[in-house]
């Protein structure tokens, strides 16, 4: 992946300031995240294994979630 170009484009899309001074660090950390994402691909997940986001319960806001 061309991380350098990705940072330029994605930062512009979400209006995030990435100055030339900061960019090498941002690219480095994005590279580390890409390595982590690759590691996740090695796990064979069944289609039944979901939890795509933290589980939301409207009940929680009434005083805590169920056990």
């Amino acid at each position: 992946m061309d991380l350098d170009r990705y940072v330029d484009v994605a930062a512009e899309v979400i209006d995030l300031p990435v100055t030339p001074d900061w960019k090498p660090g941002v690219v480095r950390f994005l590279g580390l995240a890409a390595e982590m994402a690759q590691l996740l691909e090695t796990v064979a997940l069944d289609d039944a294994e979901l939890v795509m986001a933290p589980v939301y319960s409207p009940d929680a806001f009434a005083g805590g979630k169920d056990d």
Partner: protein, 474 residues
């Protein structure tokens, strides 16, 4: 009672309750200790002396009038500066938050400790916005390790670990998203408890990663951990993730011991991620466990993917939380955190959604290990405190970036919310290192019992600093 500053919380409370000491004298001694020691350690960002004196005087008056003063009567405590303290801006280790309106009310856990008789003496330094394992901070300066001020204190609850290790607060509170209660406990040589995710309410604290954040205590004994933990339990609607389970006190049965245990020691991936000092500490724990039952190697190599999931969820969720500040004040962040936050704001959504699925999968793998073992034993950090400024961790020739790798062994377990007691395993004069006692969800009591038994056998002790270097805090 042991003399201050090394008296434990339960000893102080007993002395104050019985009238052998006044709360006022305890607080004066503690404030004097902070004034004498903290210039070398830099653990405190605010000392709430006036408030502490007023609360101590009120407590002494109440005791004189015959009131029951609570299980933590007169015990000084301090909190990581992401806890709200009435009248102070909640810094969360940042420059940006100095502009926040002062808090109008204490964090809930501060209120609960106060209700038990404890007295707040100040706010403690931390890594910026809790994104740190080292104890460095560009705005406040590094929190120094009391055992050797030239070494890292560990983060992000750096001030908490250091203040308790240096005899400035027998109890302190911190937070743990990827290891921030366990890394400073390991490097500073004190005990900590990271409860199950959702156990202690985070009401009126400044978040790092909502779906991974935990709060918990540091202390110099397991009994003190249990004392503080019991005083802080109970549901609260101010934290959407807080359990509705009732209070499950750990202190009453602490001394009963854990019974005959099946002890799991993860091999494979874990074994190659720590050095000789950590290996020796694990060996001492295994030898020292009471009536040691079966010790077995367990396969937990799924932790590597679990840790990767924790990394991505942390990076993405924290950056999304900070996005407006990153747009408007990126230049005011600590350079060590800013670039990570900026990168986290750019992660593809598919990576994060997969991280959530792998997190759930990793929990099922870990729970399977608990079908054959009662507790898991893993070092809290790969190595004892590195020297400040070091950037590379060398593990038997494998060179890893130091900053993220200090949390290598803690991160997988907070990711899935398991309760962990960290115990210090070192001899006087050595650099400390901590060992994690990891229990199944909601079994803080078991991890505390194991820690208490190790302490009773002299395996785990929060030795006072002083032997490592001449300038260490005596």
């Amino acid at each position: 009672m042991t003399d201050l500053p090394w008296a434990q919380a339960h000893e102080i409370a007993e002395a104050v309750r019985s009238g052998r000491r006044t709360a006022a004298s305890v607080i004066e001694a503690t404030l004097g200790r902070i004034a004498a020691v903290d210039p070398r350690i830099n653990a405190f960002t605010a000392v709430t002396a006036e408030r502490a004196r007023a609360e101590a005087a009120a407590l002494d008056r109440a005791i004189a009038a015959g009131a029951a003063p609570g299980p933590l009567a007169g015990v000084p405590f301090a909190v990581k500066n992401l806890f709200d303290i009435k009248g102070l801006p909640t810094l969360c280790g940042s420059k940006i938050n100095r502009d926040r309106t002062p808090a109008s009310r204490d964090a809930l856990l501060v209120e609960r400790l106060r209700a038990a008789g404890a007295i707040l003496v100040g706010a403690l330094g931390m890594g910026e916005y809790a994104y740190d394992f080292t104890g460095e901070n560009a705005h406040d300066g590094a929190v120094r390790n009391p055992h050797d001020p030239e070494r890292m204190s560990g983060g992000s609850s750096s001030g908490s670990g250091a203040a308790t290790a240096a005899g400035m607060a027998p109890i302190s509170l911190g937070s743990d998203t990827n290891g921030s209660l366990r890394v400073p406990a390991s490097l500073c040589g004190v005990f900590s408890l990271k409860p199950t995710y959702g156990r202690l309410p985070r009401t009126r604290t400044f978040s790092f990663v909502d779906s991974l954040d935990h709060l918990g205590p540091f202390a110099r004994s397991v009994r003190d951990l249990a004392l503080a933990y019991d005083a802080m339990q109970g549901p609260d609607g101010g934290d959407h993730a807080c359990t509705r389970r009732g209070v499950e006190p750990a202190l009453p049965a602490l001394a009963d011991g854990p019974g005959r245990l099946r002890i799991g020691v993860p091999g494979g991936w874990f074994e190659t991620r720590y050095g000789p000092e950590a290996r020796e500490a694990v060996g001492r724990v295994l030898q020292g466990l009471p009536g040691s039952g079966q010790i077995m190697r367990v396969d937990l190599d799924a932790a590597e993917a679990g840790r990767a999931a924790a990394y991505l969820i942390t990076n993405s969720e924290s950056a999304a939380f900070h996005i407006e500040r990153l747009r408007s004040r990126a230049q005011d962040y600590d350079p060590d955190t800013r670039d990570r936050f900026l990168a986290g704001a750019l992660l593809p959504a598919a990576w994060v959604a997969r991280a959530q699925r792998v997190r759930a999968w990793w929990l099922t793998q870990a729970l399977a290990a608990f079908s054959v073992a009662d507790v898991l034993i893993v070092p809290a950090t790969p190595v004892p405190a590195p020297r400040r400024g070091e950037t590379v961790l060398d593990l038997a020739g494998r060179k890893l970036p130091l900053r993220p790798s200090l949390g290598l062994l803690s991160q997988p377990f907070s990711c899935i919310g398991l309760p962990v007691v960290t115990v210090p395993v070192f001899r006087p004069g050595e650099l400390p290192i901590g060992v994690q006692i990891i229990a199944p969800p909601w079994r803080e009591d078991l991890a505390l019992k194991v820690g208490h038994a190790l302490e009773a056998r002299g395996v785990a002790t929060a030795h006072a600093p002083g032997g490592v270097r001449a300038q260490a805090v005596a």
